[in-house]
Amino acid sequence: MRITQGTFSYLPDLTDEEIAAQVAYALGKGWPCSIEFTDDPHPRNSYWEMWGLPMFDLADPAGVLYELNECRRAYPDHYIRLNAYDAGYGRQTTALSFIVQRPAEEPGFRLDREETSDRRVRFRLHPYALDRPQGDRHR
């Protein structure tokens, strides 16, 4: 099951040229970009691992693409996303965030039914990927 998170997630995966164009847009707005990766696709997993520090003071997308390719090489079967942070007063938040790599196989989720006190029923989302140890989830 293809997970959809962040901007552009209902579009076909972006090509490197399209990613570069989006990065150029972010840099043009003065938003520093950063790269994050994870192999836990749960939608509430919002804190992904950082690939290095956010890249400040860049003028050209080539630098971001370089780091992205380094990250892809190190984690070929992880999710990787690219964030652009708007530090502008009144916003000060992630302005653009989109997935730039996903594993070849995305096993999807299952819904666990859990019975709690007073016959109440709770449901829990469980990614099948989490059945395997970290680092070994999308092989």
């Binding site: 552009f8 040229e17 570069a20 989006q22 290095g52 003028a59 370089y66 009144g90």
Partner: protein, 327 residues
């Protein structure tokens, strides 16, 4: 707070903020529109190409704002011509490798190496060789780390910042310290070499430094020397050129020399030039700064009323009190 700033995602009050998520016409879109190669019989007007690229503004600025430096200007013109012709060739579909434009500027202090590098970045940008046209000026401190494992990320950081522009490494010979074989400078040089070779499309590296020390640096790093196509030497300025530079600087600051000051200024430059640690244009600038100080002091000491003429005219005594005239 008068108005809450609008988020980019939806139009704010006046509706002027563009949608963020809109796919942009970027390199991908342009690549699709690349026109088919011209037929072999077609003709291209180089004069128009030249006008379209607006390189003449930069070249003319180089000519008028920088005095002398003829070998440098010639080389820059040659490079501009090469890139322009390469563009015309590409229109015919003739495939040529991207030219290697890494450069080494050698010359004494104050001969305009940094200034030329800034102009060069602008020129290469207009000719489409680099994408952004910014100049990142660094020295050893910005590239070399202080402990094991610190150098590579630091150098890469700088390289990433310079991508799409020109990386100007001032006093590049400090990168290599012959007396300490475990110096981290070597690591920075290796990364630099790799990037200069593999990512020629992304940035142009300019090394700068004094001639003799750069020669020593290259002899101990032959790989570096062979990866640099253009070794440009900045000659020291002649007395006449120094005088012209001084005049240019003064007119920019809104000063001028009184007629009787001119021989004094010329004499001052002659003497200053003969003294040790003469730094060409930089020394001229300092001389003018000091003359401004003395000029201001002279006016204050005299008191009373001043005219516009008094305020802009430098007199002989403004220069004559310099240490240079002491003996």
């Amino acid at each position: 707070m008068s108005e809450r700033p609008g988020f980019g995602m939806r139009p704010s009050g006046n509706g002027s903020v563009p949608a963020v998520a809109e796919p942009l016409p970027g390199p991908a879109a342009e690549a699709v529109e690349t026109p088919a190669p011209l037929p072999p019989g077609a003709r291209i007007d180089l004069g128009r190409e030249r006008a379209d690229s607006r390189i003449d503004e930069v070249l003319d600025a180089l000519d008028t704002e920088l005095v002398g430096l003829h070998p440098v200007k010639t080389r820059i013109r040659e490079i501009a011509a090469l890139l322009l012709v390469d563009r015309a060739r590409a229109r015919f579909g003739i495939d040529s490798r991207r030219p290697n434009l890494h450069m080494c500027f050698t010359g004494g202090p104050g001969t305009g190496k940094t200034t030329v590098a800034t102009r060069l970045a602008e020129l290469l940008h207009r000719l489409g060789h680099i994408r952004q046209g910014h100049l990142v000026a660094v020295t050893r401190d910005d590239l070399v780390g202080q402990y094991v494992g610190h150098t590579a990320p630091k150098t890469k950081e700088v390289l990433k910042r310079a991508m799409g522009g020109v990386l100007f490494i001032d006093e590049a010979y400090y990168l290599y310290r012959a007396e300490n074989e475990r110096d981290y400078g070597q690591e920075a040089i290796e990364i630099l070499l790799q990037v200069m070779e593999n990512r020629r499309d992304d940035l142009v590296v300019v090394l700068a430094g004094y001639k003799d020390r750069m020669d020593a640096f290259f002899s101990s790093n032959p790989g570096m020397s062979s990866r640099i196509a253009h070794h440009i030497d900045f000659p020291d300025y002649e007395p006449g050129e120094l005088e012209e530079i001084g005049r240019l600087m003064m007119s920019r600051d809104g000063y001028r020399l009184a007629p009787e000051t001119e021989p004094v200024f010329r004499d001052y430059l002659e003497r200053r030039r003969a003294r040790p640690r003469f730094a060409n244009a930089r020394s001229v600038r300092n001389a003018i700064e000091r003359a401004r100080l003395r000029h201001a002091e002279r006016l204050m000491a005299r008191g009373g009323e001043v005219t516009r003429e008094d305020l802009i005219t430098l007199h002989p005594e403004d220069f004559q009190h310099s240490r240079v005239f002491a003996h």
